[in-house]
Symmetry: C2
Subunit: 309 residues, 2 copies
C-alpha cells in the first residue's frame, strides 16, 4: 500500500474523529514495543456504530532531539535514589513526544481478528505427525510461490540479487528480505532461496543436501562480508520450521538485531542442521520438532482434530 491518497477527494476528508471514539476493548498490547491495539466505535449521524481499529505506538528517540528533551522537559519528579543511582519521571512537552497513530476505518471482523491477541500453542511434531497431519495440510493448501520462481528466473528483483550460484542442484540466490530497507546495517536481513524446487522445508533435508547447505553457509557469509562489510561471526544464519512458504530458504540476520522469528521455538541454525545431517542423514525424518501455532491457524485445527493438542 502506497502513501498516496486513494482518490482525489481524500485530501479533503477531515481527520478521523478520534475524540468522539468510544473505546470497546484493548485488542492487544505490547509492553516491550510500547504499542497498543484498540477496538473502537464511531457513531454515524443516524446513530449506528461503525467499528475501527486504532494502533498507538510510541516513537523511537531521535538522536538530534535528545538534548532538547533533557532541557525542555515540563516536569521532573524524583522517584528513587540509592547511592549513585536515581530514577525520575520526566514529562516532555507535546512536540517531543509524538505517538504514531494508525487507524483502520471502517474495520471489518477480519481486521479485528487480525489484531486481537491470539493464544499461541506449542506443537511437538513427530515424524508421524508430519506425514499424517502437516504434509497433507501443506499439499492441500497450494500456497503460491510464483514470486520465488520469478526471482530465480530473473523475472523480478533481478537488480536486487546480492549473490548467485546458478548450479541447478547445489545453487541458490541471495536477496535482501522485504523487511530490510538496506539503509542501515543494524537490522540487516537477507534470504537465500535455493534453485531446486522440490525441497519444501527442513523435514525434506538429508545428507544429499549437504553440498547445497554448505554452499549457502560459506558463499552467503562471503557475499555479505564483501557487499556490506558484516563478517560471518556477526550473522545469525537459520531456517524456520514451520517456514512461511514451502520452498527451502535460509535467513541471514544481523546478530545484534532481535529479528522476529529468531527464537528457539522456530529457528534452526544452519550450522546445527549441517552437523545433524552429517551425523545422521535421516535426522529430520526421525526427530520430533517443536513449533508454535496461533489459535486462528488452520494447521492447529488439524492437530486438534487428530487429538495431538
Amino acid at each position: 500500500a502506497g502513501a498516496a491518497p486513494h482518490d482525489g477527494a481524500a485530501a479533503a476528508v477531515p481527520p478521523f474523529p478520534l475524540a468522539e471514539l468510544r473505546l470497546r476493548r484493548v485488542l492487544r498490547e505490547s509492553a516491550r514495543d510500547k504499542a497498543v491495539f484498540l477496538h473502537g466505535e464511531v457513531s454515524s449521524p443516524s446513530g449506528e456504530g461503525t467499528d475501527a481499529v486504532i494502533i498507538l505506538e510510541k516513537t523511537p528517540f531521535q538522536e538530534e532531539k535528545v538534548l532538547d528533551l533533557l532541557k525542555k522537559h515540563t516536569k521532573l519528579e524524583l522517584q528513587m535514589r540509592n547511592d549513585i543511582y536515581s530514577t525520575y519521571h520526566l514529562y516532555p512537552p507535546p512536540e517531543l513526544s509524538e505517538i504514531k497513530t494508525t487507524v483502520v476505518y471502517p474495520a471489518t471482523e477480519k481486521h479485528l481478528q487480525k489484531y486481537l491477541r491470539q493464544e499461541v500453542h506449542l506443537i511437538r511434531e513427530t515424524w508421524e505427525d508430519y506425514q499424517n497431519i502437516t504434509l497433507p495440510f501443506i499439499q492441500s493448501q497450494s500456497f503460491s510461490i510464483q514470486w520465488v520462481y520469478n526471482i530465480l528466473e530473473k523475472k523480478a528483483e533481478a537488480d536486487r540479487i546480492i549473490h548467485e550460484n546458478p548450479d541447478p542442484c547445489n545453487g541458490f540466490v541471495l536477496v535482501p528480505d522485504f523487511k530490510w530497507n538496506q539503509t542501515q546495517l543494524d537490522d540487516l536481513y537477507l534470504i537465500a532461496l535455493v534453485q531446486r524446487r522440490e525441497i519444501k522445508s527442513l523435514r525434506d533435508l538429508t545428507a544429499e543436501h549437504l553440498p547445497l547447505l554448505r554452499n549457502i553457509l560459506q558463499e552467503g557469509k562471503e557475499a555479505i562480508a564483501k557487499r556490506f562489510g558484516v563478517p560471518g561471526s556477526q550473522l545469525r544464519i537459520y531456517l524456520h520450521y514451520q517456514p512461511s512458504y514451502y520452498h527451502l530458504h535460509v535467513h541471514f540476520t544481523a546478530l545484534g538485531y532481535d529479528a522476529p522469528g529468531c527464537s528457539v521455538e522456530r529457528a534452526h541454525l544452519l550450522a546445527d542442521v549441517i552437523d545433524n545431517l552429517a551425523m545422521d542423514s535421516m535426522y529430520y525424518q526421525k526427530r520430533a520438532l517443536t513449533f508454535a501455532l496461533r489459535a486462528d491457524e488452520l494447521l492447529l485445527k488439524k492437530f486438534q482434530e487428530a487429538g495431538r493438542v
Copy 2:
C-alpha cells in the same frame, strides 16, 4: 538494590541537574524498545567535568489512560490516507507521556562501558574448544553461586518456592525468576534449579541425567499449570548455553513473551535436549555448540588468544 534512600541526607538532595547536562555521546539506542543510553557530563563549580549515564525509556501504555490519550491530545496531524487506512502524528499532553529516566552519577569508565553498544561475536565451540578454552576459563573464574545453594537449602526465598522435588539426584526447585514481578502472566518467568551441584551446563549432560530432565519438564509444567493456570503448551522451556551461572538450571517463560535470551543462538529447548540424549548419550560431548559473546567478555579474549575467532 532497594528503593530506599542510601542515607539520611539523600531525601534532601536536589534532583540531578538534567538541564545543565552536556551531552557527550549516545552510548546505545534501541528503536524497538524506545530507549536511549547517553553519556553526559556535569561541571562542578570548579569547572571540572563529571561523567554521568542517563537512560531514557518511553513507558508502556496504561490501559486506563488510553481513552484520555485519544481525547486530550494537543494536536493530531494526518500523515497519509489510503482507502480504509490512515496514519497520524498524535502529540499528547505532558502528563500522558512520561519518560522513565535513570541516572548513574557520578559514573565511572566501567559504567560507560557497560552501557556502550558492544560488538557481538558468534562462537562455534567444538568439544575440544570446550575442554581447552571454556572449561579452564569457568574453573578459573570461581563464580559465586552461593545464592543458588541458599535457595536449595531454604536459607533464602523459601516462601517463593513454587514446587520442589527433594530427591538429591533427580530433584529440583522451581522459583520465579527475579525479572518477573508475578503481577501479570504475560511475562511469566520461572527457573528450575537442580539439587545436584556438579552439573555445570548442557556440556555435562549425558543419558544418566534423563530422569532428572524428564522430572523438570513434567513436574515443572504441572506445577505452573496448577499455580498460574498456564498450560504446558504455552510455555517455552529451555536451557542457556553459555548460561549466566554454572549450576544447571532450566528457564520456563510464557510462549507469547519475547524473553531476553530465548533466541536460537543461546536457547536449547529441554524437549530437544532430552531427545538428543536419548538418541546419543554423548551428544553434548561431541557436538559443536554456537553462542554469542560481547566484545568485552573475557571468554572471547580466550577464544581469540587460541586463534579460534
